[in-house]
């Protein structure tokens, strides 16, 4: 257990030492989104009854921060270690692939949670946030962070160069998070796009997470949780399989 705990500690320390970039910068970005969108749209858009647009926006932004930062943490840590070669320090000790997986994903979830919490706290300057069902907030934050942390491990192992990783991030993660209903309810979309959105797992993460705040959502939170948990099981299984075979790590 000490091996696992040390790797987790090291992964947390790694982003914490540069928290200005890894936590501060994403919080600032989200707050800027919030200020601009709310200023432009608050008077024109209402998604849920009795919920001002700015309030509606906050949970989506928080969840987006959790997801993107969970992904960024494991993927950037792994690719940096691979490119500089210092991943040997982790590969030489008697650390099992399950411990390796757990440490990288948990650290990613921590980073996501830190940033998400930062965004939520900063948003309190502008809005008041209800907490209709906090258990859902926690559940979706955990599972969502776990999925993206795992995807980050996959991307970090697979990518051999920084631009391959950037491609993964820009052409897969970013569009899926952006098109998941962070900025709108999918009921405001044309039918076709509503249908398409239902195939996007990120939609369920955000929708369920938002339910925890307002007690309202596009689909039932149970259904969202079910889908998200199945996704997590799939991604975790894939990642563990790659790790157990030493794919691209133990030649």
């Amino acid at each position: 257990m000490t091996g696992f705990r040390t790797l987790l500690y090291k992964e947390i320390l790694r982003f914490w030492k540069v928290s200005f970039q890894t936590v501060g910068a994403p919080v600032l970005t989200s707050v800027l989104y919030l200020m601009i969108f709310s200023h432009v749209l608050d008077k024109h858009v209402q998604v849920f009854d009795g919920v001002p647009y700015t309030s509606f926006l906050v949970p989506g932004l928080v969840m987006m921060s959790i997801l993107q930062n969970a992904f960024a943490n494991s993927s950037s840590s792994l690719i940096q270690s691979k490119i500089t070669g210092n991943l040997v320090f982790v590969l030489l000790p008697p650390i099992s692939y399950r411990e390796f997986y757990a440490a990288y994903v948990l650290a990613s979830m921590f980073r996501g949670a830190f940033v998400g919490l930062g965004v939520a706290l900063a948003s309190l300057i502008f809005v008041t946030l209800p907490l209709a069902a906090p258990g859902w907030i926690l559940a979706f934050a955990l599972v969502g962070g776990g999925i993206l942390g795992s995807l980050g491990v996959v991307a970090g192992i697979w990518a051999e160069k920084f631009d391959q990783l950037a491609g993964f991030q820009n052409f897969l993660i970013m569009p899926l998070t952006m098109l998941s209903g962070v900025f709108y309810s999918i009921h405001s979309l044309p039918d076709v796009w509503q249908t398409v959105s239902h195939f996007n797992p990120f939609f369920y993460m955000i929708d369920g997470f938002r339910y925890g705040f307002f007690g309202q959502s596009d689909v039932s939170p149970w259904r969202s949780l079910g889908i998200v948990v199945v996704c997590f099981a799939f991604v975790a299984g894939l990642t563990l399989n790659l790790l157990s075979r030493g794919y691209k790590l133990r030649g």
Partner: protein
């Protein structure tokens, strides 16, 4: 059976058509100071990587202190300390942080007493609080050695630890490694400095294209493949003498097995009318052995 520190049977590793390891069999006993020599690309690093679990052999078995490196990887890795060939470091941490973290990976908490001892022996005490980024290449190399030792591994493998390291540092490093060997640690070393291997290693394996082409004690290798040489510069040329080779500019070389043959050779030269102006005695060295083995293999 007494435990071998390292036991390798039929280790094979292919990269496409290339056989980086082509059926390597090797057994290294506990307490040995062992040299693994070979030209670039011979497969030394691949063999070490297979032993450390960084690379999976396609065939064959590898054991460290009796533990299979795949099936029983936890125990095998706990017994093994590897100093990698590449000069790698984690720029996020100081020297002490790096060593504490490495200890933790091996399941050891509160390792500061041993860390301090390693730092002192490697002349790194003053750098304990320095960030890894700020260290010179030689310093980084020493930290790599320190990281390989945090868990007091009975078997220590050093892959070209002195490449690009200045003479003074090399001396200090070898002193420490010898001390560890004296305390019972098995040492396996690869190096391009053949004099280094000659003075340090009790036994040597030479690798070429993934195969072991020579394996013996250093003394036997020197005796088997290399001879002493006697070089003489003569005042004027003499008719060709049996057993001699002309090196040009008046120099003549005799291959001899022992020093007591010198007197006979000198007499031979005098009798042929030669007058000796200068004389050099060459000892057998590993360089000659190495060149000889590589050519004949």
């Amino acid at each position: 059976m007494t435990a071998a520190a390292i036991r390798i049977c039929g280790a094979t590793k292919r990269y496409g058509d290339l056989r980086a390891l082509d059926g390597v069999d090797l057994e290294i006993a506990e307490g040995e100071f062992f040299g693994l020599l070979g030209p670039n690309g011979a497969g030394k690093t691949t063999l070490i990587s297979a032993l450390a679990g960084l690379v999976r052999a396609d065939a064959g078995t590898l054991e460290v202190m009796g533990h299979d490196v795949v099936r029983d990887y936890r125990k095998a890795r706990q017994q093994l300390g590897v100093v990698p060939q590449e000069l790698v470091f984690d720029p996020f941490f100081t020297v002490r942080e790096a060593l504490r973290i490495q200890s933790g990976y091996f399941g050891i908490r509160n390792n500061d007493d041993w860390i301090d001892e390693i730092l002192a022996n490697l002349d790194l005490t003053a750098k304990a609080g320095a960030n890894m980024r700020s260290l010179s290449g030689g310093m980084k190399r020493r930290v790599l050695v320190a990281q390989a030792l945090v868990h007091r591994p009975p078997v220590i493998v050093l892959d070209e630890p002195t490449a690009g390291v200045d003479v003074e540092l090399r001396q200090g490093l070898w002193q420490f490694i010898r001390k560890l060997n004296g305390a019972g640690h098995t040492i396996v070393l690869t190096t391009h400095y053949l004099e280094e291997a000659e003075t340090l290693c009790g036994r040597i394996a030479m690798l070429k294209a993934g195969r072991i082409v020579a394996l013996d004690t250093t003394a036997n290798l020197l005796a088997r493949f290399a001879t002493h040489s006697l070089k003489l510069r003569l005042a004027q040329p003499v008719p060709a003498l049996p057993g001699s080779v002309s090196l040009g500019q008046g120099w003549l070389e005799f291959a001899i097995d022992r020093y007591d043959e010198v007197e006979g050779r000198l007499r031979q030269v005098r009798e042929a009318g030669g007058e000796v102006m200068e004389m050099k005695l060459g000892e057998p060295d590993l360089e000659k052995v190495f060149v000889g083995v590589m050519q004949s293999a």
